[in-house]
Amino acid sequence: MNNKEAFRQMVEEYKDKVVNTCYGFVHQKEDAEDIAQDVFLEAWQSYAKFRGNSSLSTWLYRIAVNKSLDALRKQKTRKYIGLFKNLLQLTNDNTAKIKNHDLDPLQAIERNEREQLLLDALNKIPQNQRIAITLSKFEGLSTREIAAIMETTESAAESLMSRAKESLRKQLENYYKKI
């Protein structure tokens, strides 16, 4: 099998996982897909150099996390334009979610609000905690996989996840205390 064919197979196998991982960071499907495209482009450019020191999935997830964080940094610099765009896209996403849930409209709206609160809280926690919890909750990766992607030990990854939950809880409590 040549490189091109092997790469094509890899894309087919991992595209949903990569898109979902990016979505865990940027929370917008179109942006997540764009970043995932960049992830595979970078993977294509360095595919020949990939020596298999880590597993293929770990390598791809690592690129996905880095690209997503880069995208978030760029988003911050284009804050005002982004804010407007987000508002428009959030409206679209919410409508899509309401349609997708098998809930009555009121329950669906409540769920959307809670989800949005949770995603906002995720954006506010420290970066390492955020990476760990996103990989765990969006992609359902094991502590071992997360540790490999983050190039840390399993216990450190475990600790990051529990601290992430604590930080999230604090963020939410602060919000609910205020209202």
């Binding site: 894309v11 949903d16 898109v19 979902n20 990016c22 979505y23 897909e33 495209q37 909750k137 939410l172």
Partner: protein
């Protein structure tokens, strides 16, 4: 909001962590990626720097051609006009001299 209430709300929201919506790639993801890879490969085989050099070379060639064309046009025009003048002088002078010769002949007669 009371302590129990905000704890309850926080827990309810936290529970959503385990059922967050997932995203999937769109149907045209692979096609789009293949097109981008192809473009990337084309750029690699014919890099941008080379393209720029080619553009400059072409620009300089066009200017040089223009200069050469306008120079040769002007030179050609001046040559043709001077040769015309020359031929006209020759024609007029030959006419004049031939008239003189014939008149002289008549006079002699």
């Amino acid at each position: 909001m009371g302590t129990n209430n905000y704890n309850e709300e926080t827990e309810k929201t936290m529970q959503l962590l385990d059922s967050l919506e997932k995203a999937e790639s769109s149907a045209y993801f692979s096609t789009r990626l293949e097109a981008r890879i192809q473009k990337l490969e084309e750029q690699k085989s014919f890099p941008m720097e080379w393209k720029l050099t080619m553009k400059y070379a072409l620009f300089i060639m066009i200017i040089a051609l223009n200069v050469i064309a306008s120079y040769s046009y002007l030179k050609g025009d001046s040559i043709s006009s001077s040769s015309k003048r020359k031929s006209m002088i020759e024609e007029v002078s030959s006419m004049y001299f031939s008239d003189n010769i014939s008149s002289n002949t008549v006079n002699i007669k």
